[in-house]
């Protein structure tokens, strides 16, 4: 039983949701799937006066618009795993959804937008959407706002989504022929990730790398963007260059995340193999 009194609303449009959250943002929490906020309220760690539940707000559509996939904020992991658009155009996002901790229940309850807004360092979603070059689209009383890149995540458990806004969708460019790898280290199937690496690489027909993005999750308060282009661009994706690129990562982590799963020193130590394995996955991938 949640110990404090609250009002519950489930608006039927984004506009209605914005009206509700902008009335008293400091005393309002938004529910995507509820997998984080409901237990938090139940434990008494958060005591909002108003809970705005987006489940009926029509924000769960997945659409392909000119080589950009629009993923509604309340799209569940189960929906991502079974969407032909996501399977065909964003295979790394589908793979991330299949590997979410918590079983089929959490996959069908948790939402991609909820995970992005919660911005928990140990979650899968922040680093993956960053590596995929996503843009977050927010709605507020002043209209729409878009943020991409490192500005999406400001601190541990704080995304760029302001309390008087709601995240409406993610816009993610199609992966096209890009190879990718997603590797995560965790203690057991049912535990949170300790460190993750999401890697996307574009190559010429000849095999020469033209662009590459590597983002680490779990190792810092926010996703760590590692500039591996200086090592990888202009040559083939092969073991020597991959290992050289993986050696760059530890220096990119300035203040390693610490929690009950692992101390910062452990996280620093595993960044190199975790990053290398993600890049090796891409290296071994069949041409798509």
């Amino acid at each position: 039983m949640i110990g404090h009194p609250f009002t519950y609303r489930s608006p039927e449009s984004a506009a209605e949701a914005v009206e509700l959250v902008s009335a008293a943002p400091a005393r309002t929490r938004v529910l995507g799937g509820g997998t984080w906020v409901v237990p938090e309220c139940n434990r008494g760690e958060s005591a909002p006066d108003l809970l705005v539940d987006l489940r009926r707000a029509g924000l769960d559509r997945i659409e392909l618009v000119d080589d950009v996939v629009h993923v509604g904020a309340t799209t569940t992991y189960t929906a991502l795993m079974s969407s032909a658009i996501v399977l065909g155009h964003l295979p790394m996002l589908a793979a991330m959804a299949r590997g979410i901790t918590g079983g089929a229940q959490v996959q069908s309850q948790g939402t991609i937008g909820g995970s992005v807004v919660a911005a928990r360092p140990q979650s899968d979603a922040p680093a993956v959407v960053a590596a995929l070059g996503a843009t977050l689209v927010m709605a507020g009383s002043q209209g729409e706002r878009r943020v991409s890149g490192e500005a999406m995540f400001e601190a541990a458990s704080r995304s760029c989504v302001r309390p008087d806004e709601i995240l409406t969708r993610l816009e993610i460019p199609v992966q096209g022929a890009a190879r990718w790898g997603y590797y995560k280290l965790k203690r057991s199937a049912s535990s949170w990730p300790i460190a993750t690496a999401a890697f996307v690489v574009d190559q010429h027909g000849s095999g020469s790398v033209t662009d590459a993005r590597l983002v680490l999750g779990g190792v810092s308060g926010t996703p760590v963007h590692v500039d591996v282009r200086s090592v990888l661009v202009g040559g083939p994706l092969e073991p020597g260059r991959v290992d050289e690129a993986a050696r760059l990562v530890a220096a990119s982590v300035h203040s390693p995340w610490e929690d009950e799963l692992a101390p910062g020193s452990y996280r620093l130590a595993v960044t190199h193999p975790v990053a290398r394995r993600a890049m090796e996955m891409a290296m071994q991938q069949e041409d798509s």
Partner: protein, 170 residues
């Protein structure tokens, strides 16, 4: 727009279809769905374990999707179709999964059964011949306090085999 007014301790009337029956009960507006099912509707198959979404003991099927009902507000489920493990038996016949958990002695205290049985049922609905790795991954969102995992995996394997035999006979 649906919602409730904030009055501490106020009861609301919640309408659900529970295990095939249209029902209505008075519940506290701050209840988690598992609490409403147990305390308001008297359906005690889903258990309150961790209340943080880790253990799966509160699992029920809500509008077709297996759900950890400790992470759902009761008020958000108004009008929903809920199936608990109590409602899985048809005409008094246990399902393949339930029967196999019984014959393989796959439980001691039984607290984890809602999560284990629903997770196994979901797996066998989409994959009639899972590997042991598939079974273990499918069960991974559910914790057994008696550490009977080997027997649970064996039960799912047995349920899969019996279901395949049954399908071949038809």
């Amino acid at each position: 727009m649906t919602g409730t007014e904030p009055v501490e301790g106020t009861t609301i009337r919640l309408n659900l279809t529970v295990d095939g029956q249209d029902r209505s009960a008075a519940v506290d507006s701050r209840s988690l769905l598992v609490e409403a099912l147990r305390d308001g509707f008297g359906v005690t198959a889903p258990k309150v374990g961790c209340a943080t979404g880790d253990c799966g003991a509160c699992t029920s099927r809500v509008d077709g999707l297996i759900t950890k009902t400790c992470m759902r507000l009761a008020v958000s489920a108004e009008g929903s179709q809920v199936v608990t493990t109590q409602g899985l038996a048809e005409d008094g016949e246990l399902s393949f999964v339930q029967e196999a958990f019984w014959s393989e002695q796959a439980f001691q205290c039984g607290y984890c059964l809602p999560g284990m049985i629903f997770a196994a049922t979901e797996l066998l609905a989409r994959d009639p011949d899972p590997t042991d790795d598939d079974i273990r991954w499918a069960l991974s969102g559910n914790l057994c306090r008696c550490t009977g995992y080997e027997a649970i995996v064996a039960a799912v394997r047995t349920a899969a085999a019996r279901q395949r035999e049954h399908l071949q006979r038809d």
